[in-house]
């Protein structure tokens, strides 16, 4: 256990010294995804705006026709897109990086950080779109918005751990890619991204309270949408993140040298 932790920390500290590598590679990734397109990464912004625009205008009812709901759905979607993309890209991470893993001695955590940076850059485009929507929604800017920053930081801090856990899952159980893919697609509807929980019973009750993603969304969303700091959600998100880090360190420590034989 102790040696596993030492191994993991060694891998992480080596990767941190190579920060230039993962930052450069993450930029390459973003560039590659949009190579030869005119708008380039701005497509990420268009994609987000099209999605949220459709939702807000098509699903407009008296219940949802308010600045509050626009903020609720647009922030929810930013966080959800981030989580969904990060988790779905993590599962096949090691097999995607196969040629580097089999040909270089880079610590595994380099690939984890590479994906983390890539996800953050991509999210920045939807955050920009989200801010534009918030400004036009008539919600009015307030200093309480700043209260969602701790939540965002917490999610960013949890990202490398989540990437690690899902990447190992994908390396050991290749089927996980499809299972996780399905879960995340279903999750879009089971997570309160678009729907609001007003104490309904039945499945919505479970989907709200027993869904870890709810809390990840709430820590960022609640300060802006309802103007209060969601302490309960924050504490739970912190615990979930901590759990991910513990598992990630153990996996990294014990199995990092095995990955090369699996991919």
């Amino acid at each position: 256990m102790i040696s596993a932790l030492n191994g993991a920390l060694d891998d992480i500290s080596k990767a941190m010294r190579l920060h230039r590598v993962w930052i450069a590679l993450a930029h390459e990734d973003i560039g590659d995804q949009h190579r030869r397109t005119t708008l380039g990464p701005l497509w990420l912004l268009v994609n987000y705006l099209a999605f949220i625009g459709t939702f807000i205008f098509v699903f407009k009812t008296s219940d949802t026709d308010s600045a509050g709901y626009t903020a609720y759905a647009s922030i929810g979607l930013v966080v959800w897109f981030y989580l969904m993309e990060m988790i779905s890209l993590s599962v096949p991470l090691f097999s995607r990086e196969g040629s580097f893993i089999q040909g270089t001695r880079l610590p595994l955590f380099v690939y984890v950080m590479r994906l983390t940076v890539q996800c953050i850059i991509r999210a920045a485009y939807s955050v920009a779109g989200c801010i534009v929507i918030l400004l036009f929604s008539g919600l009015g800017i307030s200093t309480e918005w700043l209260l969602s920053i701790p939540g965002m930081l917490l999610i960013v801090l949890a990202t490398p751990a989540m990437v690690t856990v899902f990447a190992f899952l994908g390396a050991f159980f290749p089927d996980a890619q499809f299972i996780v893919g399905n879960i995340m697609r279903v999750g879009t509807f089971l997570t309160p991204v678009f729907w609001v929980y007003h104490g309904q019973s039945g499945i919505q009750n479970y989907a709200y309270h027993w869904n870890p993603f709810t809390y990840f969304l709430e820590v960022v969303r609640a300060p802006i949408a309802s103007g209060e700091f969601p302490m309960h959600a924050f504490v739970l998100t912190a615990y979930i993140s901590l759990a991910f880090w513990v598992i990630a360190l153990l996996l990294l420590g014990r199995y990092r040298k095995r990955v090369v034989f699996l991919i």
Partner: protein
């Protein structure tokens, strides 16, 4: 002091069998290490009891049939594979050239790939900038250096890979059979650079099927078969000295 020492190194790894609807296996051929079974799992014995020692200035040629364990051994030396038993002790800065496409991004230009490769090997941006002209000149790629890597021929890729890997003055250079991709003129140039490297008291380990190449580069020769060392021969050093002069 630059040295490589392996003591009873063995490497076995599990083959993960997947649920499949296809006909049961005719996938596993006669090549490669021994595939055995242990507790219902397939285990490949890729290396078994490999021991040898190399000192500064040694140039080892690895020979053996396909799947004998040459590349596996290089990857153990490089630190990609952790041996299942035995010890590997290496003193010196190691660089390796495996499959040409490993570690290169097809979409990026040759120049950008050199930068990435340098960063991966732990150089700073300033060092890369400083080495860049030399790498480009040595590779003789000219204007192609600013063209995406995917458009390169195998030979051009080999030139880039070799130029980049040897530009950082590695103390120990591991190479897999690929150098044959370069044309005769480049092979000659590559050979000279390897000579220089060995004269600076470096170590070269080259896995190849090319007898001429092995003959002209290597001072020692190790034959692998089914993951075991079949023979280890040291050639008289006189010949190397004579060749260096000519």
């Amino acid at each position: 002091m630059i040295s490589v020492k392996l003591d009873n190194v063995s490497l076995a790894y599990r083959l993960y069998e997947k649920l499949t609807l296809s006909a049961p296996d005719r996938r596993l051929g006669a090549l490669g290490g021994t595939i055995g079974r242990s507790g219902g799992m397939q285990v490949v014995q890729a290396l078994e009891d490999v021991s040898f020692e190399l000192k500064a200035g040694d140039r080892l040629g690895l020979v053996g049939p396909n799947g004998a364990g040459k590349t596996t051994l290089l990857k153990v030396l490089y630190g990609i594979y952790q041996p299942s038993s035995g010890t590997v002790s290496i003193e010196g800065k190691v660089d390796a050239l495996f499959n040409i496409n490993i570690g290169f991004r097809p979409e990026a230009t040759g120049r950008r790939n050199i930068v990435l490769r340098g960063l991966i090997s732990g150089w700073t941006e300033a060092e890369i900038e400083q080495k860049m002209p030399e790498i480009i000149t040595f590779s003789e790629l000219g204007d192609f250096i600013d063209v995406p890597f995917k458009t390169y021929s195998q030979g051009m890729a080999a030139r880039l890979a070799f130029s980049a890997a040897t530009a950082l003055d590695p103390e120990i250079l591991l190479m897999d059979e690929w150098i044959g991709a370069g044309d005769a003129a480049f092979q000659e140039k590559a050979k000279r650079r390897m000579d220089e490297l060995a004269e600076k008291a470096g170590i070269i380990v080259l896995a190849s099927h090319n007898e001429n190449l092995l003959e002209s580069v290597c001072t020692k020769r190790m034959t692998l078969k089914n993951g075991r060392v079949e023979s280890f021969i040291t050639r008289p050093t006189k010949k190397v000295g004579a060749r260096a002069k000519s």
